[in-house]
Subunit: 137 residues, 3 copies
């Protein structure tokens, strides 16, 4: 059985943002005893991933690292019409991915102690982002 | 409930290829109202991911970026017996991943407007690639 | 229907380790005819991915590559309190990911001939790692 929800995130600054609570807040029915939560982002210049939920410095360091990994204005790039941050955003989103899957155990999301769900916003001036949440049981 | 399909893709040139239609064409029963599509590639030198479905320049730029990220003939690499493109192919496939999961909403694949499914072919002279598709509902 | 298992892996050296058999050994009920296996790692400084199961040199080359991709002591990094290997471990785990999904076909894991499941251990002195396995059918 699959329950689904659409969550619209407000526009966020370029960078990494913890959205675990926003996702849980958008799930209006109780989670099943056992199952899987699937979070899908319907965009190609932002991604989702799992990482540390405690120290804001981690978010800073992710942004710094990914900007160096896929910098703007790389020689040879052709897809430049949407701005210098667009093609790097596509690349970064392919690297972190567009979905996360998390087990549901005893009616709760079975994240590790230090795990949170990240929205990875790679555009300079992004609109809000749309997530499709599926709860499988 | 799970429906499964095997899709054999013809050999493709090294690079990124949009295979959304090939996947949908291989699914012979109607999609369920609600569920999840899982696309799995049974290889270690090619991957699958989601990205932009419109501008062919994006495909070009992906190929250029990943070749720089994991170039051939890196110093210290030991797994060279299958050719200089093989170990970089393993690395690239681990980075983009071997499966994508996409929600099915109202009997249709809930991809965003600009999203398509990519085959990421990392070998110079690849054979055809085998995908296992699972439709969960 | 979802069956779940917790698998505790003993502490492993920094590097890439094939854990396919450890996972299958922790699944005590027969796999369903058709379904999906989901492997989730509850940590933020280790990851899981799929790659080559044959040549140990591949494991060596992965470790070498990822150490160069996200080296220790990068300028500008702020999250240094847990040691120079910690922030790179967060980054690497976001790149390889925290879960793998593999189809189950005819009661068996439908891995390709050369595919195995990797534990990617990115810390120098890691404790054991906890996996949550979900079998969906």
């Amino acid at each position: 059985m699959t329950e689904q929800y659409v969550i619209r995130l407000s526009p966020k600054l370029r960078g990494f943002h913890i959205i675990t609570e926003a996702i849980l807040g958008g799930i209006t029915k109780p989670l099943p005893d056992q199952g899987l939560l699937h979070v899908f982002i319907q965009h190609t210049s932002a991604g989702v991933c799992i990482n540390e939920n405690a120290d804001p410095d981690v978010l800073h360091d992710f942004e710094l690292f990914f900007n160096r990994l896929a910098p703007e204005n790389l020689s040879g790039m052709r897809h430049t019409i949407e701005g210098p941050d667009d093609m790097p955003a596509h690349i970064k989103s392919a690297i972190v991915g567009h979905s996360v899957q998390i087990p549901i155990v005893n009616g709760r999301l079975a994240l590790g102690t230090w795990q949170g769900i990240y929205l990875c916003e790679f555009r300079n001036r992004a609109s809000g982002r749309k997530l499709v949440i599926s709860v499988l049981s």
